[in-house]
């Protein structure tokens, strides 16, 4: 008896030690991960805020060694993102509607869903190559339109995904009730399910905006960059991410400051949008 008891105690002791050890490891992992993320946010806010001043919002990108701001990049980013969202949202909502309302378990819907999820996480730089091949190369020129198109290719899958998910959350009883009243299918969708899922769809659009506001790779060879103030979308256009890339890779100290300022602007935009999206999002349960 005594032998069994001590053997058991030894086993329990070992299990307790193992438990302690791995739980400590998990705490350590959490600490490790959170410390990095905190460090990044800290240096971003520290360097960003010390670089932000009114000039950032009123002057264009300077040549090295001179004072300037980022207004042309801000304007370019806002313009291209607006076009991308205005073009991508209706298309995404319609395609998402097809998946949730008409296609559902059909073969075509399966393929579209599959392809959409691939596009959702496909490398964004490939999007840039795609638009370069179909727009920039044939027209012999980089342009704001091409930049907006490449962002649109990124917006669409995000909106499709969230629209489908949100429409599937709408109880079927609502659809059946509307259909029983004699409403044609398209009316049911437009006046009942869309309306019920509106908050969720808006969330998706906000997330898409957040996603493209930091996208750099697709813009590099579609919109290129520009050091002038321009709202002409047929010409190369500056954007915040492209300017950050150019300025950060340069050897000039004052360009680095502007890059930090731009990075802070982007992060602030993304965080604000995702927080609003979270607040709007319907509860899952």
């Amino acid at each position: 008896m005594a032998a069994v008891a001590t053997k058991n105690q030894g086993l329990i002791f070992r299990r307790k030690i193992t438990n302690r050890f791995f739980l400590l490891l998990a705490v350590g992992a959490a600490g490790f991960g959170l410390v990095w993320l905190a460090l990044i946010l800290y240096s971003l806010f520290y360097n960003g805020f010390s670089a932000i001043n009114p000039k950032v919002f009123s002057e264009i990108t300077p040549p090295p060694g001179e004072d300037g701001g980022l207004i042309n990049a801000i304007v370019g980013s806002v313009l291209m993102s607006t076009v991308a969202v205005l073009g991508g949202t209706p298309l995404g909502i319609l395609a998402g509607t097809y998946l949730a309302e008409y296609g559902r378990y059909g073969r075509l819907a399966f393929f579209v869903r599959f392809v959409n999820d691939i596009l959702l996480s496909a490398p964004s730089i490939v999007t840039g190559l795609f638009i370069y091949e179909i727009l920039v190369a044939p027209l012999h020129g980089f342009s704001g339109w091409a930049g907006a198109m490449s962002l649109m290719v990124i917006v669409i899958p995000v909106v499709v995904r969230t629209t489908e998910n949100m429409l599937l959350l709408v109880p079927n009883g609502l659809r059946e009730a509307a259909a029983a009243l004699g409403a044609p299918r398209s009316n049911v969708i437009r006046t009942v399910t869309w309306r019920a899922a509106r908050a969720g769809i808006v969330t998706g659009v906000l997330l898409a905006v957040a996603r493209i506001s930091g996208e750099t790779a697709p813009l590099l060879f579609t919109a290129l960059n520009s050091s002038f103030m321009s709202t002409d979308m047929t010409q190369p256009m500056a954007s915040l991410p492209a300017v950050i890339f150019q300025f950060a890779m340069s050897p000039y100290e004052d360009w680095h400051h502007l890059a930090w300022a731009g990075a802070l602007l982007i992060t602030a935009t993304v965080l604000t949008l995702s927080i609003i999206a979270r607040l709007l999002e319907p509860r899952k349960h």
Partner: protein, 328 residues
């Protein structure tokens, strides 16, 4: 009520048939409109592949499949090979996963089992928000903050420490630049970390509490419950989430381009500069003159798309199977 009844009587049978027919026509139009949108999404995908293949055609014809394992990259003599880029892409992503998966799962365990209740939501939300931060932010931080610090305080010490140890000596060899394969992999892992922990935590939360309670009731320790009950139950979801993260890491451009060093040779140690497919394209595309330079970059893009497609497709199939099992 009476009004409605009256109106109802006033609508004649042919009028009603007309209204129904009109509704039917509108229905068809709307259905076709959504179908067209769905087909456009499909078309985008086909278009991406087609444009990559067409753009790469001259290079595919000139170099063929050996492009994949040629390690020359010389724009002047127009000899191109993908090996350094492909190797860099695979190695940085692999190292990033090596760091991010255990740490991400650790964070998820921490959040679901250890973290005190009031902190759980704030930390969870913070991690989800961080998952949305654009990769260029990670890149610029790596370039300006991490690389100089690493170069000065860590790298030299490591190189010196292992200078006489046979194998490690060559793994940690080379001049301490600060930037290079290791730095790129670390930045990548920090970038995908929030994503992995958020997905893993979500999957852990789908484990029925009854299973865990039963295991605790048998006298299991917390770790035993996590390792033998929760993780096996959530395996498919965790692996699927990790594959999605891998897909991101493979295709990531900005977080890597800043800190990889852009050197077109096979890296001979963890600290030596290298390049990845996306970094090569991002750095060189706008300067690619000549008949084969840009097509070779397209060829690289095609290879990247192919690799990520395989990874993402298997991730999806895994997650789909999981959804079906969950019965949603």
């Amino acid at each position: 009520m009476a009004d409605i009844a009256l109106r109802e009587q006033m609508i004649s049978v042919p009028e009603r048939a007309q209204a129904i027919a009109k509704g039917g026509a509108r229905d068809t139009r709307f259905r076709l409109l959504t179908l067209a949108a769905a087909l456009i999404v499909m078309g985008l995908f086909v278009g991406v592949i087609a444009s990559l293949v067409i753009g790469a055609m001259p290079s595919i014809k000139a170099f063929g499949l050996p492009f994949l394992w040629t390690d020359k990259w010389n724009p002047v003599t127009e000899k191109f090979g993908a090996l350094p880029s492909v190797f860099g892409t695979l190695v940085t992503s692999f190292l990033a996963m090596l760091i991010a998966v255990p740490v991400g799962i650790g964070i998820a365990i921490f959040l679901t089992e250890i973290c005190p209740g009031p902190l759980r939501r704030p930390i969870g939300i913070a991690i989800e928000l961080l998952a949305g931060i654009p990769s260029i932010i990670y890149g610029i931080w790596g370039l300006f903050v991490f690389a100089p610090w690493f170069q000065e305080h860590v790298q030299t010490a490591i190189v010196d420490a292992f200078v006489d140890t046979p194998i490690l000596q060559s793994i940690f060899a080379g001049p301490p630049y600060g930037i290079g394969i290791f730095t790129a992999a670390l930045i990548l892992s920090i970038m995908i970390l929030p994503f992995i922990s958020a997905v893993t935590r979500d999957v852990f939360e789908t484990v029925p509490p009854m299973l865990k309670e039963a295991a605790y009731g048998l006298g299991c320790t917390t770790w035993e419950v996590m390792w033998r009950v929760v993780l096996p139950f959530a395996r498919a979801g965790v692996v699927g989430g990790a594959m999605l993260a891998l897909g991101r890491a493979l295709g990531e451009t900005m977080a890597v381009t800043f800190v990889i060093g852009n050197a077109h040779h096979l890296p001979n140690s963890l600290f030596s500069p290298g390049t990845t497919i996306s970094a090569t394209i991002a750095n060189e595309f706008t300067e690619a003159l000549g008949d084969l330079y840009a097509p070779s970059l397209f060829y690289l893009g095609l290879i990247l798309f192919f690799i990520t497609f395989i990874v993402l497709a298997s991730a999806q199939l895994m997650l789909r199977a999981l959804e079906r099992r969950a019965g949603t």
